[in-house]
């Protein structure tokens, strides 16, 4: 069936900025999923009477990095504002955010889609502070329930990045989110760990009949903690809205939650229940003035960004699009790849890429560790690939050695020589072994000489088994053929 609807999606992304201290006080930014509750709290982030916020310059710098990487226009003067609402995890009863004059606006992010590259416009990028965390303890055995508040996260710098409604499918929404996360990781401002909530993605979704140019009622989806959940929730929401539309029912403007276990969205609150945040300029913080000179200094210090690196990897190293994509997904990986390539110039970069994205990633996934945790240095990987390339070990041995390197951190040459894994490439030695094997099996030789040439395969297997798989198979094959043909000729 021909699709008669077009999907309109905009994404609101909240990313914590992993600065040393919080947005408006000197408390350290700690991992709020691991740290003891309320160890990083002071009168400012606890909203004590008389305390005042002071803007963290490092947070502004991080935010500027992101805004510049998104090719935004920076406001030379931006204004902090109070967003007023009551909730126990919001110590001051308002969140310091930006409203009328955000840090930056009018940027864009290029994403890759099935039909090629696509430009998604960025509406605005602004700074704000995170809230604390509530833990609800349900009633138990007649004891009433209660809630616990952890303010470690309260006041952690948060960047809000709002896209224009340029996204047209669940896949594009995922691609945008993944691309943005990679960018944030490149800039060193956010670990990108969605499970830990350091990056939070909230899509708003609406549909319209194809050909229409107006915007229809949209819904917003919250509580998505993986890219998969994002893609599925958006797809579900599109389907739900299409069904409603076809049935002639109204789509209500509301905030939806994502039910992971039932794989469906559900309404959280409607527009009417949404609060009036009564934004007004924060009187405790003077307008934030950002001089052009500062902007240029940050722009000049930006690292090579993922999009540029992706193109360069394909062009310079002749990598496949998939390999390039995997290698640029984090700076640590792309740096690893490039150091390995540079230490073994005679090995094709494609081979290096395959070993990293295949074997190494496989081991990392099996052990459930991160790329940063691996013990193998790039020059050690390159030494291993060198042994393989020069025929001193075969592919299977190389894989086994890599596993041991991964576990122990030992260098490949030590592992190979210690366990006698060196490949036998010495032709004289191999010729002697082949000679002995043929001599020890006269019956099979006779079958061969009688015309059943497939027996040569059997001899090959015997030789390999006899050397414990260490003989260079290419040389064995060639030498075996030579000796067998010789015997046939002599016949």
């Amino acid at each position: 069936m021909k699709p008669n609807f077009e999907t309109i999606i905009g994404l609101e992304v909240h990313a914590e900025l992993e600065t040393r201290s919080k947005m408006f006080c000197g408390c350290p930014v700690v991992d709020s999923t691991e740290a003891k509750p309320n160890i990083a709290v002071c009168p400012v982030c606890a909203g004590m009477p008389g305390s005042l916020p002071v803007v963290n310059q490092q947070a502004v710098e991080y935010a500027l990095k992101v805004a510049l990487a998104l090719e935004c226009q920076i406001n030379n003067t931006s204004i902090f504002a109070r967003k007023n609402y009551f909730y126990p995890d919001l110590p001051k009863g308002y969140q310091i955010s930006q409203y009328e004059s955000p840090l930056a606006h009018h940027g864009h992010l290029k994403i890759r889609t099935q039909s090629g590259e696509k430009n998604i416009r960025i509406r605005r990028v602004h700074m704000e502070e995170d809230t604390g965390k509530l833990t609800h303890i349900p009633p138990n055995n007649g004891k009433p329930g209660y809630s616990l508040i952890d303010l470690n996260r309260a006041g952690v710098p948060l960047l809000e990045i709002v896209s224009e409604p340029d996204i047209r499918s669940a896949e594009e929404a995922r691609s945008y989110a993944v691309t943005l996360r990679t960018l944030l990781r490149y800039l060193g401002v956010n670990s990108g760990d969605m499970q830990k909530g350091v990056i939070r993605i909230e899509p708003n979704v609406s549909i319209r009949p194809i050909g229409s140019s107006e915007f229809y009622t949209r819904t917003e989806i919250k509580n998505l903690n993986s890219f998969r959940a994002l893609e599925r929730a958006v797809a579900y929401e599109i389907q739900r809205q299409q069904n409603l539309f076809r049935q002639g029912k109204t789509i209500v403007q509301q905030t939806m939650g994502w039910d992971e276990s039932h794989q469906k969205t559900f309404p959280q609150r409607t527009k009417e229940e949404e609060e009036d945040y009564r934004y007004f300029p924060e009187p405790d913080i003077p307008p934030l003035v950002i001089e052009d000179e500062w902007i240029e200094r940050i722009r000049a210090a930006l690292p090579e960004l993922p999009a540029a690196k992706y193109k360069r990897f394909i062009k310079t190293y002749r990598l496949s699009s998939d390999d390039a994509d995997l290698l640029i997904s984090a700076q640590s990986i792309s740096n690893y790849f490039e150091s390995t390539v540079s230490t073994c110039p005679d090995i094709p970069p494609r081979t290096v890429a395959n070993w990293i994205t295949g074997e190494l990633f496989g081991l990392i996934n099996q052990r459930n560790i991160t790329f940063e945790d691996i013990k193998i240095l790039p020059r050690e990987l390159s030494a291993l690939l060198s042994l393989l390339h020069h025929g001193e070990i075969n592919t299977n041995t190389a894989k086994a050695v890599l596993t041991e390197m991964f576990e122990t951190g030992n260098d490949p040459k030590t592992i190979v020589s210690k366990s006698g894994l060196n490949q036998i490439s010495n032709i004289a030695q191999i010729a002697k072994i082949i000679h002995d094997v043929i001599a020890a099996n006269p019956k099979e030789l006779e079958t061969y000489l009688n015309g059943k040439e497939t027996v040569s395969q059997w001899f090959f297997g015997q030789v390999m088994r006899g050397t414990g798989g260490k003989a260079n198979p290419k040389i064995v094959k060639a030498e075996l053929n030579r000796q067998l043909l010789e015997l046939k000729r002599k016949q």
């Binding site: 909203g47 004590m48 009477p49 008389g50 007023n84 126990p88 001051k92 007004f280």
Partner: protein, 492 residues
């Protein structure tokens, strides 16, 4: 023999340095005086006797060391007692802001001004009474009882720094800290016949000042004479990295000896401040004071501040709007008092509904309304625009004059309860003091006479930003040739 609490500020400093009296003796004398008068006047919410004596003993030790080796200079304020308005936090001391909602709040830190003055060796006698969250002009809005005006106990001391003003004039403290958001230092100083300075916005740190209207709040001083403020003010001003709105224009010291009157001063008289609503005796006393200033060599000029009439409505949009957000943190969750319930929203509702007083709730509602969607542009937005016009009025006038003279409030101290059912009449008390807060400029008030009820009348001088020294020196010059500031209501 003169009682210790009757010593002037300079006499206190001299006696301490000469060793004639110890800080311990001085502090004891003030504590005794407080004990004696507190029942009638009720200037304090909390008296910090124990800490005060510890600080005094510490000061005495410093003096002992200094007397043996005078090469190391000591702070002129070492060992001098101080009263602190209960909206400025003192470490380990309860800070209520005059509200039940902070009835059990013990501050874990010092306000920066408190830090500065403790570093200077001052001794804190206690925390003075205030209208709840500094919202009021009479100190009647305190949850801890009304402060009585020492000149007439049936009358208010003014507000919201009424406790500090009453304490100073009744010799319960030699000097006190107050805060001024719309006149809260100047008006009570005037009602009690003492000298009060509201500094330029940003000149004194607001860190630890429990916020009412963040863009208007200023911490300042209430004293027996301008000369006393000249000693205190440099010690409490300066840039504070903890307050982003504080300004880095330090003031080393204010020299009163050089010449009595700053040379070639021009004083503007804005006709908008001399309207028909002023009590005639007040206007007469102020005109006389202006004549005295003229006789001291000040040039008098008439000036115009055409947007003055909008100051009251502008203030009552901006201050409550900021207050509505500033007071949102008092939810009973993390500190302060809580009215408990099993349901979250019920805790918020009951805590705030029960523990805030009527005036605070009124201003929260006013402010919430002014910021609401659909009303913002019409109220808060427009108020900000008019605020700019009021500021520009002052900028223009300060191109032609150095100072502006005006009444402090239309009347002298009124009877307790007089405005109880009329909030608007209470708001009008601040009509002449609000503009300085809206413009962020400094103002000083000092006594210039008495009315027929024997109640003090004050005058207000305003200056351009950072011209506190001119204000203090002019007030001092006036006080050198008059004795209104030496009059005392209650004999020892």
């Amino acid at each position: 023999m003169t009682q210790i609490t009757e010593l002037t500020f300079q006499e206190i400093i001299n006696s301490l340095q000469s060793g004639e009296i110890s800080s311990h003796q001085l502090t004891k004398a003030y504590l005794k005086r407080i004990e004696k008068l507190e029942e009638d006047i009720h200037a304090f919410i909390t008296i910090t006797e124990e800490q005060a004596l510890t600080q005094a003993d510490k000061a005495d030790k410093r003096f002992a060391v200094w007397r043996k080796d005078k090469t190391q200079p000591i702070s002129p304020l070492l060992g001098v007692p101080l009263a602190v308005k209960d909206v400025l936090t003192v470490h380990n001391i309860r800070c209520t802001a005059g509200s039940k909602i902070l009835g059990n709040f013990v501050s874990p830190y010092n306000a920066t001004v408190v830090d500065q003055l403790l570093d200077a060796g001052m001794v804190i006698l206690g925390k003075t009474n205030t209208d709840e969250f500094a919202m009021g002009s009479s100190t009647e809005n305190s949850a801890y009882g009304v402060t009585h005006n020492p000149w007439d106990l049936s009358r208010v001391p003014g507000g919201s720094s009424g406790g500090s003003a009453a304490a100073v004039v009744a010799n319960m403290a030699p000097i006190a800290l107050g805060t001024d958001t719309g006149g809260s230092i100047r008006q009570p100083a005037s009602f009690c016949g003492v000298t009060g300075l509201k500094p330029t916005y940003g000149r004194v740190s607001r860190f630890g000042l429990i916020a009412y209207g963040s863009s208007l709040d200023s911490a300042g001083a209430i004293a027996r004479a301008a000369a006393d403020i000249a000693l205190l003010f440099p010690m409490m001003s300066g840039f504070d990295p903890k307050d982003s709105t504080s300004v880095n224009i330090p003031i080393e010291r204010i020299n009163l000896q050089d010449n009595i009157m700053p040379a070639q001063l021009r004083l503007g008289i804005p006709k908008e401040y001399f309207t028909s609503g002023i009590q005639p005796e007040v206007e007469i006393a102020i005109r006389k004071a202006i004549n005295v200033l003229e006789s001291l060599g000040i040039e008098i000029k008439e000036v115009n501040l055409p947007h003055t009439k909008y100051a009251l409505p502008v203030y009552y949009l901006i201050a409550p709007a900021e207050a509505s957000a500033n007071l949102a943190r008092y939810d009973g969750i993390r500190y302060g008092s809580r009215v408990d319930s099993t349901e979250m929203w019920d805790i918020f509702r009951k805590t705030r509904g029960t523990l805030f007083g009527a005036e605070v709730k009124r201003r929260i509602m006013l402010g919430t309304y002014a910021l609401s969607a659909g009303y913002y542009d019409e109220y808060y937005g427009k108020a900000q625009k008019v605020r700019t016009l009021i500021k520009e009025d002052f900028d223009n006038v300060f191109k032609t004059v150095d100072l502006i003279a005006a009444p402090v409030s239309p009347t002298t101290a009124f009877k307790i309860g007089a405005h109880r059912d009329d909030p608007l009449a209470m708001y009008l008390e601040d009509i002449f003091t609000l503009p300085a807060n809206l413009a962020g400029i400094p103002g000083i008030t000092f006594p210039v006479g008495f009315d027929s009820h024997c109640l003090p009348i004050g005058i207000q001088l305003m200056g351009a930003p950072f011209q506190e020294e001119k204000l203090i020196r002019t007030a001092h010059a006036y006080q050198m040739v008059t004795d209104w500031h030496t009059r005392k209501p209650i004999p020892n």
